[in-house]
Amino acid sequence: MTHLSINALTKRYPGEEKPAIDSLSLEVESGKLVALLGPSGCGKTTTMKMIAGLLEPTSGDILFDNQSILNIAPEKRGAVMVFQNYLLFPYMTIAQNVGYGLKMRKVDQATIDRRVGEMLELVKLPSLGDRRPKELSGGQQQRVALARALIVQPNLLLLDEPLSNLDAHLRFEMRDLIREIQQEMGITTLFVTHDQEEAAVLSDKIALILDGTLQQYDPPMGFYESPKSRAIADFFGGVNFVTGTQDKGRFTSDLGAWSAPRGIEAGSGLATIRPEDIEICEAPGENVVSGNIVSHVYVGTHSRLKVDVGAHQFHVVADAGIIKTYGTGSTVMLHLPAEKIWVLPHAKD
């Protein structure tokens, strides 16, 4: 198991004014699965390619177990990358694809055959060794690509958007399989994705990169409950924001004063609360606001409401059956639990 350290890693492409990745530093503990999360073009794949040795950093360092690997050839780093589009060699059988890494290491054929069998078993494709890649579905091809990477027992497994080409059902299946195998084998894994839900479900920690810069590096819950900026809250689906002033655990805005002990201690602030944390209540009280339902969408397991409160609009996720009590145009009272409100620093215009 390998401990990965990234120190002030920067990549500037020739002719580009802004670096693709700027002074990225993070630590990935042995055997953990970390997601590099961010929108397209934010620099996450660039980071992964630098770790794999496929791109040279402009500055900074990458260390495996406290040893710099920048001078080690990519093929000797043991950082194996699984690409988004699988990239199985089309002229080889599935077994040949899976055994490729061992063949390059000149392992004897009997061992290769045995290990290929084990790997195909692991990814639940035991009988497909003789097939060609084009005879397999996208999900199966991605499993083969995973088996091909795992067979060489990499120091570090790098997964570049491995689920983005799969349909919803396969994505869930593959997500579980990746987590299961990663935990079973204990391989330190870095996982690139633009899907915050995927990152939250799969990883031990998330490194959110926006515009080439690391914004926050925390376990998934931290991004939902205590985002460090409005941009981070936005990225994780935060939609309810109220500007005001924070002082000694009380947040004051045009909607009144709320108890809000989490976040900044004092000063101009931006209070945020997730739609699923807002409760519909019957009576006025502390941290309760009243408003009119302007839209109501039933989505099976729950309902999504938009509620106008003064000059603000709150998004609320409520029980699916709420529609029986409150329809569009009804007045509703919303309880904003104090422990769920997070107050960010907010610069006044």
């Binding site: 390619k49 794999a52 040795g53 496929l54 050839a73 990519p74 093929e75 000797k76 950082a79 194996v80 990358m81 690409f83 589009n85 990239l87 060699f89 089309p90 002229y91 490729y100 890494g101 390059m104 290491r105 060609r132 084009k134 091909r148 990477a149 060489v152 790098l158």
Partner: protein, 291 residues
């Protein structure tokens, strides 16, 4: 649907008719002449005498078999060396570097230049009295033209091979470069991250991926270099002669009786090229089935 098909067939018919008459007509006429049928000189018997004479008679067999050997040698060397150089250069040219566009332009510059011009260029540059020989003489590196190696008009077809390489590298290059650029470098990156070194990546990834395109181009170049006469006519020697030059000699012989041998040789060349095309189609079909 049915009328649409008929309409397409009717529209294509005039072109197909002209091509068919010109191609199959001349092929049939040539084949008949190779069988000795030439009413212009009163020869109406059909037989394989010309084929037998060309291949097995005391008069021609030595020239035929040495010509066939030379033709195969020249075609094989030209194809193989051109392909190898083109792959190497294409691998360099696919990288991003300053002046890449200019380098690609120069690499493909001789594509539109006719083979005849290349052959004449070879004589002017690399013959024993050519520019290179004279420059070396001026520098004192050779004392007389005979000291300069015979790169043209030599028995091993070196000049012919060099001329074909000069010309065909660009042809191969444009095909290999297009394939490499369409593939990108991700397959090689996968192989590298799985532990493959530079040579292993080339042998197990790059080469198999470009092979179908390379095979098509190789068949075209092999068939062309095996069957064309301009370059060997200018750069070759009196003995051995490549088969197309021998065929032309028979054809240009004032004795019309020699026409049958000329046509028999042309048919043999066409037959060998056809066999190669069938081999290619078999390999391609097998590759397609596999992939």
């Amino acid at each position: 649907m049915k009328w649409e098909r008929i309409r397409i067939a009717v529209m294509l018919a005039p072109t197909l008719l002209v091509i068919s008459i010109l191609f199959f007509g001349s092929l049939l006429y040539g084949f008949l002449q190779s069988l000795g049928y030439n009413p212009n000189i009163g020869a109406t018997d059909i037989n394989f005498d010309a084929y037998l004479r060309v291949m097995f008679s005391e008069e021609f067999s030595g020239r035929f078999w040495s010509g066939l050997t030379l033709s195969l040698w020249v075609a094989f060397c030209s194809t193989f060396v051109s392909a190898a150089i083109a792959i190497f250069v294409a691998l360099l040219l696919r990288r991003t570097f300053f002046g890449k566009k200019l380098a690609v332009f120069f690499f493909q510059l001789n594509l539109p230049i006719p083979h005849l011009v290349i052959a004449v260029g070879m004589i002017m540059l690399f013959s024993q009295s050519g520019l290179v020989s004279r420059m070396l003489g001026e520098l004192g590196l050779v004392t007389s033209p005979r000291d300069f190696p015979a790169l043209t008009k030599d028995a091993y077809g070196i000049g012919i091979i060099l001329a074909y390489i000069w010309k065909e590298v660009a042809f191969f290059g444009i095909i290999v470069l297009a394939i490499l650029q369409s593939l990108g470098e991700d397959y090689e990156a996968v192989a590298q991250s799985l532990g493959a070194n530079r040579w292993q990546r080339f042998r197990t990834v790059t080469l198999p991926l470009i092979m179908p395109g390379l095979m098509s181009a190789s068949i075209i170049v092999f068939a062309f270099t095996f069957g064309s006469y301009e370059v060997p006519r200018i750069l070759g020697v009196g003995y051995p002669k490549m088969l197309p030059v021998m065929s032309l000699d028979f054809f240009l012989n004032p004795d019309l009786n020699a026409r049958a041998e000329g046509m028999a040789l042309s048919m043999i060349i066409a037959f060998i090229v056809l066999v190669l095309i069938f081999i290619y189609m078999y390999i391609t079909a097998r590759t397609v089935r596999k992939d």
